[in-house]
Amino acid sequence: MPAELIRILIGLVAVALSVGLIGLVMVWVERKVAGHVQRRPGPYEVGPYGLLQPLADALKLVGKQLFMPDNADPILFWLAPVLSFLPVLLLFLPLPLGDELFALDINLGLLLILAFSGLAVLSLLLGGWASNNKYGLLGAARAVAQSVAYEIPLLLSVLAVCFVAGSLNLATVVKEQGTWPWNWNIMTQPLAFLIYIVSALGETNRAPFDLPEAESELTAGFHTEYSGMGFGLFFLAEYANMVVVCSVATVLFLGGWHGPVLPGPVWFVLKVSLLMLLLVFFRWTYPRVRFDQLLNINWKWLMPLAVANLMLTAFFVKLAQYTVVK
């Protein structure tokens, strides 16, 4: 038992470190990609290729005064950023980076991730509500409507994969898949992958579904009133959530640590990075959808498709049990 505890503690420290690092790297990648897509250089002044720019930004954020608006709810106002960041550390624990490289071997790993990522919505709601600001409140309302809606197709698409694998344990799901791309779940479940990516964008409030923080309508949405590290934590949590979402996609659809030649963890990180890059490209390519469009996409398209996909999968899984001899 102590051995297990030590493993979790080491994992937590590693996760905390890597989340900080991911935040820094992603800020740089995001700004560089944005720059190059718009044919600008992006940050290039601080350090080689502007690599130290996010560090400078982070120092600025840490050094700023923490400020709370009049009549805001002090407890909820300061609780919200912490609450948005804390569960993120937990989300990384069950992710298997390699055959033996994971912090927490839990047979309901996927459930744990899905359950605790649900807390993010609560923090956005609290932050927007407690700021005593109309834009914050509108952003919070949007965040709730959006996240509640997009969680359903997300769960349904994930469930289809779990039907095939017969397990909610992420490591087991990976072991069911093979080395080569045609052995991965994306070949048998392409629709689920598509639904998963779209609803993951909705869940993480990334563009084109970044309505809770739509800057053209709501200044900054739920984090309008946050400055300094309060905003920094929301920001960090957003990027960490992106990584979690991409990691889960890698585990469920892209064969996790499987891949030829290179060792497992390298493949895992490579796949996650590619997915992250894709999400960043989405942000700088697609315009933000309107709110009714956002919900229409979910309820009229993703939901029925996810349900149909799930039922078909269940049918074939059952059929395979009777007919196919393994």
């Binding site: 990609v33 720059g35 190059h36 897509v37 718009q38 044919r39 600008r40 250089p41 290039y44 490209f281 989405f282 700088w284 390519t285 697609y286 398209w301």
Partner: protein
């Protein structure tokens, strides 16, 4: 039936997402358009309209083409131009004699007053760069400079004598080129 058609159209319209990604992907790989200014200068200044400057003459590029008629000052809506004419040189005794003779004979006397201005005062703080002075100039002696880099510490730094400026560009420019690039250097 219509509903199915609409749904199919929506699905086929998803292709536009791919087109969008193709566009941003292409731009991502193409070279940048930004000029990293303090390290690299902007090359394309042909369309830039800077402050007013005098055009040099055909023979002497550092002597203004201006004929001191004052049309520009008259036309200027912001009253930022003042043209000071040159006075006629004091005639020598022989010239005076010749003049008196010519007058006695009833001949028309040619005015010896130089046409180019003594001073051409220009207040850049008032100028709206409308170009009316250039349009009204009968001699084509005015133009906009290409001087992007002009900066000053006080309001007085922007009150020029354009004749002096043109002459100074002679002193600073190594070669007798049209005054535009030289004036740029003198201000930088």
């Amino acid at each position: 039936m219509n509903a199915i058609k609409e749904a199919l159209k929506t699905v086929s319209d998803l292709w536009s997402l791919m087109v969008g990604l193709k566009v941003t992907g292409k731009y991502f790989l193409e070279p940048q358009r930004t000029v990293r200014y303090p390290w690299k200068a902007v090359a394309n200044l042909d369309t830039y309209k800077g402050h007013l400057e005098l055009v040099g003459g055909m023979k002497d590029p550092f002597k203004p083409r201006c004929i001191s008629c004052g049309m520009c000052a008259l036309a200027c809506p912001s009253n930022c131009l003042t043209v000071v004419k040159k006075k006629a040189p004091k005639p020598t005794p022989e010239e005076e004699k010749a003049l008196a003779e010519a007058k006695a004979n009833g001949e028309k006397v040619r005015d010896k007053t130089p046409k180019d201005p003594e001073k051409f005062l220009y207040d850049y703080t008032l100028c709206s760069l409308c170009g009316t002075c250039m349009e009204n100039c009968p001699a084509g002696a005015l133009r906009f400079s290409k001087n992007v880099y002009m900066a000053g510490y006080s309001r007085n730094d922007f009150q020029f004598d354009l004749v002096l400026k043109l002459r100074e560009s002679d002193a600073r420019a190594p070669k007798a080129e049209p005054a535009a690039p030289a004036a740029e250097k003198s201000e930088a």
